[in-house]
């Protein structure tokens, strides 16, 4: 072993080249160790990714299902419009006691007497309050429905939903949980009859936020995030690339450009909430853009993302070999042509990497949105980027802080949706990048 480690002497002068021991075994051990470190590093990263994903998915997959109650409901005129005034007062149909319809139908199904008030109250609690809106919308769409009996699907309340998914610990004392044994019994009964069943939770993707977990959805957040991403992409990629090209290729190299470079690096380090302060001061207080609007959010996130993209783009431009530039210049291409025809396409993989990282960062950002009013309860889906909206991470953040248990699976579900977005973005970028990637 010893002679392996000690380098052999001689071989300095061109005397006959004796076979030397160059410590090959030791060097190969080092090589293997080095390789192993790399593998271990990748494995470490991936392991954490999977643990993280697992912890999210195992908690969140149930959010994509929702317990629903499907029942024939009599749209009794006695309940909806006892005074028969709907012709003169359109408000009657809006404010009618729709939940009563639902309760009566359920009570009938379960054979509960109409005078057993405590039981009726418990039955009411099994149906989501959103049933009111569901039924009202049906009546509003077609007032002739009044008096008929129509099968209707409404959401079960969050507590029943959780219980049906087995998320409620039934061993806890009845007073300390949100569903009573009686309700559980009914739930099982209804499930057996096929009245109560789990269905795919479309509401999660189309509904706006709600204070009722069962009716709360990501609709607003999805639209908001789409607006945000659209604005950030459309603004930050061209501006970032343009700025990088100027700084890297045209700007004279002097103190001023040094300062700008340092400054841009520094902007990447500024905590994101500071961009929120800036956005509040500039876009809302000065430019009088509306609060809570994705436009403002997009602008703020653009400013936040720009440094990342500029830094990555400059690095990518710098990595293009000078000989390519010389070749084009030597043919009489202008500097602009050289850059746009040759350098930029070659730098594209790096630029895309930077852009993905920047966008991903922007997509997951909450803090700066706090100050410009996007961390908010918004129920109406925004039609334009100027209307109030939230964003996915904001929704996650807000749901994570909700007291109701049923929100926690939705939080994880929302995280899954966000991750799905990220993965789609990554895949797209990888596809693009693979078309360009090369080694010199």
């Amino acid at each position: 072993m010893n002679e392996m480690i000690k380098p052999a002497s001689g071989g300095l002068v061109p005397t006959a080249p004796t076979r030397r021991d160059i410590g090959i075994r030791r060097r190969y051990a080092a090589e293997r160790r080095f390789r192993f470190y790399g593998l271990a590093a990748i494995a470490f990263g991936l392991a954490f990714l999977f643990i993280l994903l697992w912890s999210v998915v195992s908690k969140g997959y149930t959010a994509f299902q929702q317990t629903e109650i499907t029942l024939p409901i009599e749209f009794s005129e006695k309940v909806i419009d006892p005074g028969n005034k709907r012709a003169t007062d359109p408000n009657v149909l809006v404010t009618a006691n729709y939940p009563l319809l639902m309760r009566n139908a359920l009570a009938e199904k379960l054979g509960v007497s109409a005078t057993d008030r405590p039981a009726l109250k418990q039955i009411s609690a099994m149906v989501s309050d959103s049933a009111r809106v569901t039924l009202r919308d049906m009546v509003a769409a077609d007032p002739s429905i009044i008096g008929k009996t129509v099968p209707v699907t409404v959401l079960a309340s969050a507590n029943v939903d959780s219980a049906f998914k087995g998320q409620i610990d039934l061993s806890v004392a009845e007073t300390n949980r949100k569903v009573s044994d009686q309700q559980i019994g009914w739930m099982n009964q209804l499930a057996e009859q096929g009245v109560l069943a789990k269905g795919f939770n479309t509401g999660l993707f189309v509904n706006g936020n709600s204070s009722r977990p069962e009716a709360a959805g990501l609709g607003v957040a999805l639209v908001g995030s789409l607006y945000l991403m659209g604005i950030v992409l459309v603004l930050s990629l061209p501006i970032g690339v343009a700025a990088s090209i100027y700084l890297e290729e045209f700007a004279p190299k002097n103190r001023l450009t040094d300062l700008i470079e340092v400054n841009i690096n520094n902007l990447a380090a500024v905590p994101s909430i500071v961009y929120g302060l800036l956005g509040l001061a500039v876009f809302i207080n000065f430019a009088a853009l509306p609060r809570s609007a994705p436009l403002v959010g997009g602008l703020v996130l653009t400013l936040m993302t720009l440094p990342t993209i500029i830094i990555a783009t400059r690095a990518a431009l710098r990595a293009v070999p000078p000989s390519i530039r010389a070749a084009a210049l030597g043919l009489g291409a202008s500097q602009m042509q050289t850059i746009f025809h040759h350098v930029l396409p070659l730098a594209m993989p790096g630029i895309l990497t930077g852009t993905i990282i920047g966008l991903a960062h922007a997509l997951g950002e909450t803090a700066p949105l706090l100050l410009i009013g996007m961390v908010a309860f918004v129920a109406n889906v925004p039609a334009t980027p100027l209307e109030p909206s939230t964003a996915l991470p904001v929704q996650i953040y807000m749901w994570a802080n909700e007291a109701e248990r049923a929100f926690s699976e939705r939080t994880s579900g929302a995280i899954m949706v966000l991750l799905a977005f990220l993965i789609i973005m990554n895949l797209g970028a990888i596809m693009l990048r693979r078309r360009f990637e090369r080694r010199w």
Binding site: D129, N285, R291, L371, A376, A379, N380, N401, A403, E404
Partner: protein, 321 residues
Amino acid sequence: RDQIQVAGSSTVLPYAKIVAETFGETFSNFKTPVVESGGSGAGLKEFCKGVGEATIDIANSSRKIKDSELDACKAAGVTDVQEVKIGYDGIVFATDASNPDIAFAPVDLYKALAAEVVVDGKLVANPYKKWSEVNPALPDAEIAAYIPGEKHGTREVFEEKVLAVGCKDAGAVDVIKAAVADEKEAAKKCIAVRKDGLAVDIDGDYSETLARIAANKTGVGVFGLSFYENNADKLKVATVSGVKPSVETIASGEYPVSRPLFFYVKKAHVGVVPGLKEYVEFFVSDQMIGPDGPLAEYGLVAAPDAEREEIRTAVEAGKTM
């Protein structure tokens, strides 16, 4: 602008959300108001930026607006501010459901959590490590308390209604007064919380406190009543001075630790921003803040009948501060 904009306290947020949502469903000609969260101070700051389309209409607050803040408001042109009380928030102490029942007295909490306590008539750095050292009736577990961070309004209530009271009960006030001449300083010493890691400030929301208790089963956390009620299966609530917190005991004043919740309306916007007037009136109606309303169901402690009536008349009259 066709939407009401609300900002402020995260404590009031769930209630405001329920009202906003119901408002949007009931008044189909108005859009659902936008309710931002961000804290009472931040909400009031936006509120006091000025008057006009670009400013918010309502600030939720889990505390009364401060005089200095009101002055700042006025300086920025927000001269007429309506204060609306919506009810009370109870503050409870709870541990993991697996623990035995706990009964706290303010003095126990003071002794366990204060920075300095009186031992043998002298003020010393808090020496207690276990609850049982503080009071043998308490469990033999290490002290670990998750209390609201200093940014939270709840912290002030905790200090005033628990620590200060406990300080007095323990008879520490006199010792402290003897040591510190200044009245104000003395009061501060009474409510200073130990900083050796046994009392952990939580700057996040109650869900963070809950997660910490889940991770440390013997820890004691401070929660809002509504949060506790929604998670009663995971938590065990402690009595304070022998009273178990509930909507009833808090409404009756038996349970000592509670605080009022407010929102502030920009008078200048009422009647100008579509739906604002209606929203405010809807909020204070018994349908919402009454004892059978959805807010109470969620955990708000409704104000007594007379007080609610008072609130409504004040709103109707457009009384400003």
